[in-house]
């Protein structure tokens, strides 16, 4: 599928490489973002699941020049990126939505916990708030739409899921995902230069405690 590009205001653009949650597609987005960040005039490139948002300085480059550069970069053979770090995250599966989610999915709580803690998830991106990693893909048997009414307050450390995604709320924020449990492992590292424990490309395995 050829990429699509749109302006995002007058100093950013969005390039879309696809519309699925897919590890190889996401890896291409991260490789493209990394390559673009090396170009002069590019201030920041953010890889989403299947897109890259490029923040640029219009005095030093242009939408048209970036569009051409993106097409060229995408024709190059994708380099294999670093495989990322593996994190084992201890989880107490005692969240307020655990029983309801199991019932909606037609599973026992034990099966839900087993299914959720079995895969090694990929960090597709970090966003929303500092340290919030979007992990996936979630097993099909666990996929539920997000809650109809989001909670106004989700405690930090809540392990949650929605759709094809799972993740850990790093800070007390509002949130619409289903809360399965909690971890004491800090996700937001407020004392480092890279303040998110989880980084794009890392892998995550939850283990029940």
């Amino acid at each position: 599928m050829p990429e699509k590009t749109w302006p995002l205001g007058d100093a950013a653009l969005l390039v879309e490489l696809g519309s699925r949650i897919d590890t190889a597609l996401n890896a291409r987005c991260h490789a493209l973002a990394a390559a673009l960040e090396k170009r002069s005039g590019v201030k920041e490139a953010f890889a989403g699941y299947s897109t890259v948002t490029v923040h640029y300085d219009p005095e030093r480059t242009s939408y048209a020049a970036l569009k051409t550069a993106i097409s060229r970069l995408l024709q190059e053979k994708p380099r294999v990126g670093p495989s990322g770090r593996l994190h084992r995250i201890p989880v107490s599966y005692d969240g307020p939505d655990l029983a309801d989610s199991a019932e909606l999915l037609g599973l026992t709580i034990a099966d839900l916990v087993k299914l959720h803690s079995k895969p090694t998830y990929r960090v597709f991106m970090v966003g929303f708030v500092p340290g919030f990693a979007y992990l996936g893909p979630l097993p099909a048997a666990l996929q539920l739409p997000r809650r109809r009414v989001p909670r106004t307050h989700v405690p930090a450390g809540s392990v949650a899921m929605a759709g094809e995604q799972t993740g850990v709320y790093p800070l007390p924020t509002p949130g619409g995902w289903h809360l399965l449990g909690r971890t004491a492992m800090p996700m937001f590292l407020n004392f480092t230069r890279s303040p998110s424990l989880l980084r794009p490309g890392d892998r995550v395995k939850f283990h029940p405690v």
Binding site: W6, P7, L8, G9, D10, A11, A12, L14, E16, S19, R20, I21, A33, K43, E44, F46, A47, G48, Y49, S50, T51, V52, T53, H55, P58, Y63, M125, V126, G127, F128, V129, P130, G131, F132, Y134, P170, L171, T173, F188, N190, R193, S194, P195, S196, R199, P200
Partner: protein, 325 residues
């Protein structure tokens, strides 16, 4: 009191207190031009909501545009000068005064030790900016002094100012201190309570049906009570979108998202860095200062511009800043 050029013999050394906060105001934070480059960790750019006003305030006191100053929302603080300093007040008009006498806005003004900068009340706008020659010191996080309240980082210990806080200078003030630099009103962005914000159609604009596309440009949108440094929820005619659910994308200040329900959200300085709602518009950089000065109940309209024209508007705004020398 005279506003004329003053030259000082005594250099205030960095880290010496320059201003004592006698009253903090409702929501006063240290801000600079933000910390871009960290969205990949989920960290928004933060910094001044009205970047033009902060940059102008800094230039008016001889600072680099990105020096840290104060952003004061809805009302201003009471600040006592502990030593002679040069200040400028820009952005919203909260009736700035020095020892009770009204001082000119958008102008470098000399404060003698013992003089008080305070504010008589809001006349227009939402956020005023105070720059001090030398720039304010603060705690630096990821390359910026901007306060980000959600994680309590940057600025004054990551928090809003409180009575009794003492503000220090980041560097020795540039010498000589030159008071009286001024930015003419005719060079300011067209601030007002009903601005037309230049905006570039965004990635998902094409998903709007014909009636909604027309309503987006022809209707007024009110800023709702849900408006803060993260973004403004707007209230207007419901807008209808078609198409399947989206995967989250990286966002930017000025992006206009359209959640289910059809009421848009304009993202501002502390915006969430990623989100899955369709992005129908991107407000141009030149129009963001206008948005930053809106309060709940104010009305705005969107005016469609191409990215190239929007960049030209930004250049013109920059020329105004560069006149301050």
């Amino acid at each position: 009191m005279s506003w004329n050029t003053s030259r000082l013999s005594r250099r205030p050394a960095p880290a010496e207190g320059v201003l004592l906060v006698e009253k903090p105001g409702l929501l006063t934070t240290i801000q600079d031009l933000g910390r871009p480059g960290h969205r990949k960790f989920g960290v928004p750019p933060s910094g001044a909501m009205d970047r033009f006003a902060l940059a102008a305030a800094n230039r008016l006191v001889g600072n680099p545009e990105g020096a840290a100053g104060l952003e004061c929302a809805l009302n201003g603080p009471v600040l006592l000068a502990l030593q002679p300093c040069l200040v400028a007040v820009t952005g919203a008009d909260f009736t700035p005064t020095v020892n009770g006498a009204e001082m000119p806005p958008w102008t470098g003004v000399y404060l003698a030790a013992g003089e008080r900068l305070s504010f008589g009340g809001r006349r227009s706008g939402a956020r005023c900016y105070i720059a001090v020659a030398g720039g304010l010191a603060g705690s630096r996080w990821l390359g910026s002094l901007a306060t980000y309240l959600l994680v309590e980082k940057g600025g004054f210990d990551g928090r809003t100012l409180e009575a009794g806080d003492v503000l220090s200078l980041a560097t020795s003030a540039p010498r000589p201190l030159i008071a009286g630099r001024h930015l003419s009103r005719r060079l300011l962005p067209p601030y007002g309570r009903e601005p037309a914000l230049g905006a570039v159609p965004g990635p998902h604009h094409g998903r709007l049906n014909r009636a909604s596309r027309s309503a987006l440009l022809k209707s007024s949108f009110a800023v709702s009570r849900d408006a803060d440094r993260m973004g403004f929820r707007l209230e207007g005619p419901p807008l209808a979108l078609s198409g399947s659910e989206l995967l989250s994308i990286g966002l930017t200040m000025g992006a206009v998202q359209l959640p289910i329900g059809g009421q848009p959200i304009l993202l501002m300085a502390d915006h969430q860095t990623a989100g899955g709602y369709p992005v129908i518009l991107g407000v141009a950089r030149a129009a963001l200062p206008l948005a930053a000065q809106l309060l709940p109940g104010d009305q705005l309209t969107f005016r469609e511009v191409g990215a190239g024209d929007a960049q030209e508007e930004w250049r013109r705004l920059r020329e105004a800043l560069e006149q301050i020398a």
